[in-house]
């Protein structure tokens, strides 16, 4: 290992020093750990629980949380922790799909209206106004109703309702960047509008958009869980987090059926928000 340190160039050493100089607050570290666990749940759920999420032992139905069943069991004796862990993949993936739709479509709209201005800006601006005027949850409900009751449709609906926010932010950032002196300098150096857009405007806007995307990821988990709670997602035996809360509400004697998945949702969303805030501040 000693030979490796000798190979590090001075610039790399400076960069490494710069990286360690960024202090990570403890709450951000905790949030990051939470996110990593949630991501692992969605990728390799079988490593975290030995129970099958869809097979229960009816003799053990509605038992309270214990060492054997961390989050207790439901009315069919299925382990709630296992159901939460196995439901993560669907919840996280749909949130990612939602963010991706909002990010890509919203950014393109914002980029086009901010960079081209004129008629394009006016038309796209009014479309965004219409999107903003309809409450996003209502819009999502309408979209799911017309596309069909599936989690993926709920994700698309959530994504569409987020387009307006991304478009607005992107437009503002593009306007700021395209007015910069270095963009004008790029024209003088023989660059055309495409060079300016891809080379200078985009790299100078993505940072704040990425921070919004992270924030929107947390919101999407919440919106999709709400849609699932109302029955706008995949039907049981799927175990989306929102669906778990919804099916738990029928058993007043077993409050953990609601609290355990709800707690997971709350902790995940709070962690995502904390990281987003930190990203925005440390830019």
């Amino acid at each position: 290992m000693t030979s490796l340190t000798g190979l590090v160039t001075p610039t790399e050493r400076i960069r490494a020093a710069g990286r360690s100089a960024v202090r990570v607050p403890p709450t951000v570290a905790i949030a990051a750990v939470v996110i990593v666990i949630v991501l692992l749940w969605s990728l390799v759920p079988w490593l975290f629980t030995s129970y099958d999420p869809s097979v229960g032992d009816t003799a053990e139905k509605l038992t309270a949380p214990s060492g054997a069943h961390w989050f207790g069991t439901d009315h069919l004796g299925r382990d709630v922790f296992a159901r939460v862990v196995y439901g993560t993949a669907s919840s996280v993936t749909s949130a990612l799909v939602a963010v991706l739709i909002g990010l890509v479509v919203g950014s393109i709209i914002g980029l086009a209206s901010g960079f081209l201005r004129g008629a394009v800006d006016v038309v796209l601006g009014r479309v965004v106004d219409v999107l903003l005027a309809i409450p996003s949850f209502l819009l999502a409900v309408i979209i799911v109703s017309s596309l069909g009751f599936q989690t993926i449709n709920a994700a698309i609906a959530t994504g569409v309702s987020a387009i307006a926010i991304f478009a607005r932010l992107m437009r503002a950032e593009v306007l700021r960047a395209r007015g910069s002196v270095f963009v004008e300098a790029s024209y003088l150096q023989g660059g055309n509008r495409l060079h300016a857009l891809l080379g200078h405007v985009l790299p100078n806007t993505y940072k704040s958009v990425v921070a919004l995307a992270v924030l929107q990821f947390g919101t999407s988990i919440l919106v999709i869980a709400s849609l699932a709670f109302l029955g706008y997602g995949d039907p049981p035996p799927a175990s989306d987090w929102g669906l778990l809360v919804a099916s738990g509400k029928s058993y007043a004697t077993a409050p953990w059926l609601i609290y355990a998945p709800a707690l997971v949702i709350v902790i995940t969303v709070l962690s995502v928000n904390r990281i987003s805030t930190w990203l925005r501040r440390t830019q």
């Binding site: 002196v181 300098a185 003088l188 023989g190 660059g191 055309n192 060079h195 790299p203 100078n204």
Partner: protein
């Protein structure tokens, strides 16, 4: 369009050296001893000591990062608490300021100790009238009657040379020019009759002719009201002209101190000598000698027979601002001979920036003709304009905004090569390295981003970017006004060398006549969009024909303290 009245005021009488006088007890008014300031592990000011007598003025000079502003802030106790560690002693009027509880220090601010900030436009609240903010300063006099306070404010406005004090009183900050705002702030500072005024680069945000008037006003008030002045500046010429004594700071250490006459005429430290050599006003022929030695003859004469590099003929440009047409440029003509430097001189609003934008094809003229090396700039196809720009490059005023912060230096310098498809791909990296070395930077900067470079280094990168396609003409838009005097000297040195080596033609845009005298061969003076005078540098400086040119010339700090 706001027309500043400052330019119309006659110059104030010359400053009479004040009579040396100490306080009643013979102690100096301000005495700083062994002042050291550090932020964390970095020490910014180390063992600085100086004293200022009553009614005298002292200039604290040095480049940015020398700690001069930190010294001022520690005297005013404006350093961020908790982040900075201060040692030493500062006593004002016999009172030790450090260790004084905030409750006892607050009454001294304003009444004993006044402060004039660098940028007057950011020092006033934009949503309140001047008058309502003036009452805050007037309240320091302890006068209970608001009507009397109002009368005091109006009379002090008159005293600092503001016309129509009633109108100023009722105005909002954005309705006044920068020079008028600085007069307001000076008026409010002297209103409570402090014993000491700390002025932190009080004119660096103002136009040249106004700078002189503001400095004249400060000298006059100091003489008439017996106020001491601690002037913080980076300009040795200004310090020598305005202060009785000078303290030269470098890296937080006093390099030299003494009377202005002494420091100025016989500097003992190497650094003070360097500063002296770097000030354009004091060394008018610094680069001329080099250039003359290279060509053996005056370039303007030598190349007068060949075709000009730039020809601007009767260019006119109007802008619509609301309902009124503003003529930014009114029938302006000038030519730049090949291999020479032509300077476009004027204050903000004179149209010099518009002229540059027309020349580069960034704006369309309403009338007139502009040619670069015989090719018209306007009426070109985009491809034609692109081809033209290959031979015509611009160095922007502010290197902090002209370089993309997300790009590395190697990519920034390489961009024109890629866009204009110059040379083979493999050769471009080598050319980038060579150009970076040519502008005096180590090749290690290539992997850095602009944020990791100093202002001077950034401007060198900007020059390398403009130079790499080997243009014939370089337009320099106030290339050093965002930089320190000593950094400026390095950049000017570089520009002068590059011109000699590559036979470049420069169009230099500047408001600083001292700099123009150093670098330019011919000059065009612009005022409100019109050419008021043009000719060779020698003609203009020896026999200015127009009153406005004379006002600009007077703004150069005089070299005989």
């Amino acid at each position: 369009m706001t027309v500043s009245i400052d330019t119309m005021r006659p110059a104030l009488p010359e400053v009479v050296p004040p009579v040396r006088s100490t306080g009643p007890d013979g102690r100096p008014l301000l005495s700083v001893e062994g002042l050291s300031v550090s932020y964390g592990d970095t020490s910014v000011v180390r063992g600085v000591s100086f004293s200022l007598e009553r009614g005298q003025s002292l200039a604290l000079i040095g480049e940015s990062g020398s700690g001069k502003s930190t010294v001022a802030k520690s005297i005013l106790r404006l350093l961020p608490a908790g982040e900075s560690a201060v040692r030493g002693s500062v006593s004002l009027d016999g009172r030790e300021l450090f260790g004084l509880p905030e409750r006892q220090f607050r009454p001294l601010r304003g009444r004993l100790l006044g402060y004039i900030p660098q940028d007057p436009s950011s020092a006033l609240n934009p949503v309140r009238t001047i008058g309502s903010q003036a009452h805050e300063a007037a309240a320091l006099t302890g006068e209970p009657d608001a009507r009397v306070r109002r009368r005091d404010i109006l009379s002090v406005f008159e005293r600092v040379g503001l016309p129509d004090p009633e109108r100023v009183y009722a105005s909002y900050p954005h309705q006044l020019s920068g020079g008028m705002l600085q007069r307001v702030l000076i008026g409010l500072t002297v209103l409570p009759r402090p014993a000491l005024i700390v002025a932190d680069e009080p004119t660096s945000a103002l136009d040249v002719t106004i700078q002189k008037l503001i400095l004249d006003l400060l000298s006059e008030l100091r003489r008439d009201l017996g106020i001491s002045l601690l002037l913080i500046t980076h300009d040795l010429a200004v310090a020598a002209e305005r202060a009785d004594s000078i303290v030269v700071l470098k890296n937080g250490i006093v390099e030299e101190s003494g009377s202005s006459r002494h420091v100025f005429s016989t500097p003992t430290s190497e650094y003070a000598r360097q500063l002296h050599a770097d000030v354009p006003a004091l060394n008018p022929d610094r680069y001329r000698i080099q250039r003359g030695a290279a060509s053996g003859t005056t370039p303007a004469v030598a190349s007068a027979v060949t075709s000009p590099a730039i020809e601007v003929h009767a260019a006119t440009k109007r802008f619509r601002a609301g309902d009124v047409d503003v003529t930014a440029l009114d029938g302006v003509s000038f030519t730049v001979a090949k291999g020479t430097t032509h300077a476009l001189v004027g204050e903000s609003g004179s149209g010099k920036t518009t002229a540059v934008r027309l020349l580069l094809g960034l704006e369309q003229p309403d009338a007139g003709r502009i040619e670069v090396a015989g090719t018209p700039v306007h009426g070109q196809t985009p491809a034609g304009l692109r081809g033209l720009r290959r031979h015509l490059q611009l160095v922007y005023q502010n290197p902090f905004t002209s370089l993309d912060p997300t790009w590395r230096v190697s990519r920034i310098v390489r961009e024109p090569l890629d866009r204009f498809r110059v040379g083979e791909r493999a050769d471009r990296a080598r050319l980038v390295e060579r150009t970076i070395e040519e502008v005096g930077l180590p090749t290690s900067v290539l992997s850095r981003r602009p944020g990791q470079l100093s202002g001077g280094q950034r401007q060198r990168v900007a020059i390398a970017r403009a130079l790499i396609v080997r243009p014939d003409v370089l337009v320099l838009d106030e290339p050093t006004s965002a930089l320190d005097v000593s950094v400026q000297a390095g950049i000017l040195e570089l520009l002068s060398r590059l011109q000699r080596e590559h036979g470049l033609s420069y169009l230099l845009v500047s408001h600083d006549l001292a700099l123009v005298r150093q670098l330019a061969d011919t000059v065009t003076v612009l005022q409100r969009g019109k050419v008021v005078e043009s000719g060779t540098v020698e003609q203009i400086f020896a026999r200015p024909a127009h009153e406005y040119t004379r006002a600009l010339l007077e703004a150069i700090p005089s070299t005989s303290p």
